[in-house]
Symmetry: C2
């Protein structure tokens, strides 16, 4: 890195092209009709998506060369775009093709695939969002998980943060958004505590969600997950669907801290990792401290569905 200035009186020079020496993960992005390496996938610092987090997105995953529940992710993405009053330059079929191309070009058989729509920018740096040109971005990266292999085997250690998840009357959680400062603060709180990830509260002091995941309790074979103030996750919905198949009852409703800690089993759900067991919350051990039987059954069935044509579609057309 060069020194920010030469001398107080002589002017610094303007570089012709920005040189970025950071390293990026292996993957392929799509922007403005172009497929690019991740090192080239950059947006203007003036984009409303960056300066005002005025953006919505969705993440679908690919497993064994198959998209898992892509239709659901596209439904939610298009809904979010419409509700933020943005316009996509591509239709559903075109976006499917773009995502497919990103994955194929990346070579990843297991991938984390993002589709993003930002408000974009205007040539005049106008303060009126209606004057910005909306933009679509997509990328495919190696599949990632909230919980690593070890944590999937022994269960995650989660800490409850005192932070309140941004409430729905401020930002609609059903529009998947990038407003994460509360979640990031919660993560740091959790690390301070010695835990691996965090759960935030809602304004009533009940459990809400964590950074990128929903949470479920199992008590006497009944499943429960927070109803409002959370993203209606696709993996969360998948758990309801799997419960139907396994004849397990599942409801959405308020979960207090004590109720969470005294559950027989706890797990979290995310496109990034699927169904992931939690065996410790703050200093409380959940159940007998090992991954529960209901959690394990759901995990097994969840991964089984990845080959099922009713739940997944091949990447290669």
């Amino acid at each position: 890195m060069t020194h920010p200035t030469n001398a107080a009186t002589s002017l610094a020079e303007i570089a012709e092209r920005y040189q970025d020496h950071r390293r990026y993960p292996h993957g392929i992005a799509f922007m403005d009709g172009q497929y690019l390496s991740m090192a080239e996938a950059k947006i203007s610092v003036l984009d409303w998506g960056f300066l005002h987090s005025d953006v919505t997105y969705d993440t679908v995953h690919v497993w064994n060369d198959r998209f898992f529940r892509l239709d659901r992710h596209l439904d939610r993405f298009f809904q979010g775009v419409q509700r933020l009053r943005m316009n996509l330059p591509y239709n559903r079929q075109e976006i499917t093709e773009i995502l497919t191309n990103c994955v194929r070009l990346s070579g990843h058989k297991a991938a984390y695939v993002d589709m993003i729509c930002t408000r974009g920018s205007s040539p005049t740096f106008s303060r009126d969002p209606r004057e910005a040109e909306n933009r679509f971005i997509a990328f495919a990266l190696p599949f990632g998980s909230v919980a690593n292999k070890h944590q999937l085997e022994r269960g995650l250690h989660v800490a409850i943060s005192e932070k309140v998840r941004i409430p729905p009357n401020s930002v609609d959680p059903s529009i998947k958004n990038c407003h994460w400062l509360d979640l990031v603060t919660g993560l740091f709180d959790a690390y301070d505590y010695g835990a691996e990830t965090a759960l935030l509260l809602d304004t009533m002091g009940n459990i809400s969600e964590g950074p990128g995941f929903n949470v479920f309790t199992v008590k006497q074979r009944h499943l429960k997950t927070p109803a409002s103030t959370v993203l209606p996750g696709i993996t969360r919905q998948t758990v309801f669907d799997l419960c139907d198949e396994l004849r397990l009852s599942a409801t959405a409703g308020d979960i207090g801290r004590d109720e969470l800690k005294s559950a027989d089993e706890v797990f979290i759900t995310s496109t990034a990792g699927g169904i992931m067991p939690v065996t410790r919350i703050d200093s409380s051990i959940i159940g007998d401290g090992r991954v529960g039987v209901v959690t394990r059954r759901l995990m097994d069935l969840y991964w089984k569905k990845h080959d099922d044509p009713e739940w997944s579609t091949p990447v290669s057309v």
Copy 2:
């Protein structure tokens, strides 16, 4: 724009370099030791500042070739960076030099100058924010204002949105942040109503702030501005300082909707425009519908201070 795919069976090509045909305002940015045109100032789509709005910033303005209250902006910026547990690669003196260089290279005598610190990115796309390399970005653009010339003369028309500004127990408003989806929604509500900008509420139903500005009422020569749930703006603080000089009383406290609408005068404050009169809120005319005498006195004194060495510093060293 090229078609997203060639044919369903043949693979699309990977472009070597991203070609961006958007137009950007005239200005100069600083990134990684390099001074760049705004068209080159781009960050990775994997930056936490974009994907998680995990970023803080500050905006200072330059008027007649002088920074206005740069020290205050630097104080707040460094505080925010520290509270988000980020590390800046530059000290206060170096950042002052960088901002100075951006303004001088841009040629703007009146400028809008941003300093930004994002969590950055990690080569592995890790979900742990501690593994990201924090980054500093700055840029200088032409000076902009919330209110245009016409609006400054006749006063702004503001609508009160039903949206609740993201509360402090979720995101600390004293750390200047980019969580604006509530404000953008409020803006669209205001446009629908036929107004020019918006004010949001706090969780108690009192007035909070608008997109990039604080608000003040004047009633019987006493000034009042919302106390909490708002960014402690530098221009807001400047109004308190000017009131001291003008022997006007000013306090921070709750302001209800009715109180706002029945004020003698209302104005908003922002680095982007200074002190700006409001003459209509929803369907209510404020005072006699013209810019009030207290507002005008404050506006005059505010701009006068821009030449005062105690309030401003020259760009050219």
